[in-house]
Symmetry: C2
Subunit: 177 residues, 2 copies
């Protein structure tokens, strides 16, 4: 089979991204430590036309050389904002009628394959590489999504989790569009 | 909501992984440069109970400190082998009745959301961070899967692509089990 050249992919420009019809999802990064993970979050959010990324707590902000290495320019297309307190970000989103879901292993979480999004807007919270989503955020979210795992390790890499959840939900939301 | 403690996740041990019923998927890493990506591939393959990883070309082999940082021990659970020539790996898999699919942007590729796996075994080839799946491999694969992207960047990070494709196909294969 014949690979496509970059110019044959017909990707949109950052200016076109701003006015494109978005997937009704906001990604919240709750105290993410690794620049690699932050950069990958931007790159993945760009691919799935996410509305916005909210950086909170210790999550570093672009422009940053180490974020750029992985984001490869996606910080120019995906809108982002920084809110120091994660809980403040969550409450602001809920006021704007976002359903806020943590991606976490929790009592009573919904397994991703069983999750059917409703018509509306979602905010997805991804937590720190070691501590996960913070307890005060867990107390405020409207629910919790979990990626089922069959193997030996207790969790997936954050970048990988973001990819899986954004892919899964943006596919399911296609049915409304 | 209340997060689960690691011991509440009831993950299996590496010994249990060996005898667990696997997802009928082999992952082929074709000349992957980044230890980070190799480690993440192991960690993700572990989560979705993949049969085996085949490392080819310049892809580094465990044990390696930099792979361990991301794999976090998943190199102990997921079986792996090294075959220098990627095309030799592909042909060996085809002889064992694996359908070999490259994950790549190519003319006539199948978009992931349109892909319905058949009963049988699959091998999924992920290529180099810059060059993608090599041309000689592209000439031998049975087909090509592509993750549709709506944004500005031409591709996703390899670790993220592996996560999305393994999640998507292992979910679809559940219907056969």
């Amino acid at each position: 089979m014949q690979k496509l050249k970059n110019e044959e992919l017909n990707r949109i420009t950052p200016a076109e991204y701003k006015i494109a019809r978005k997937t009704p999802i906001v990604v919240v990064l709750d105290n993410i430590r690794s620049m690699n993970n932050i950069g990958a979050a931007f790159r993945t959010a760009d691919a799935f036309l996410v509305e916005k990324i909210i950086l909170t707590g210790i999550t570093a902000q672009p422009p940053h050389r180490e974020i750029h290495k992985t984001a490869l320019g996606a910080t120019e297309s995906v809108p982002w904002t920084y809110i120091e307190q994660p809980t403040q970000a969550i409450m602001a989103l809920q006021k704007e009628d976002y359903r806020v879901l943590a991606v976490e292993q929790a009592r009573g979480s919904t397994m991703l394959h069983n999750f059917t999004p409703q018509v509306g807007k979602y905010a997805l919270v991804f937590g720190n590489e070691v501590k996960g989503v913070s307890d005060e955020v867990m107390q405020r979210v409207d629910g919790c999504l979990e990626i089922p795992q069959g193997g030996t390790k207790h969790s997936l890499n954050i970048s990988v989790s973001i990819g899986i959840v954004l892919w899964d939900i943006s596919q399911k939301l296609r049915f409304f569009s």
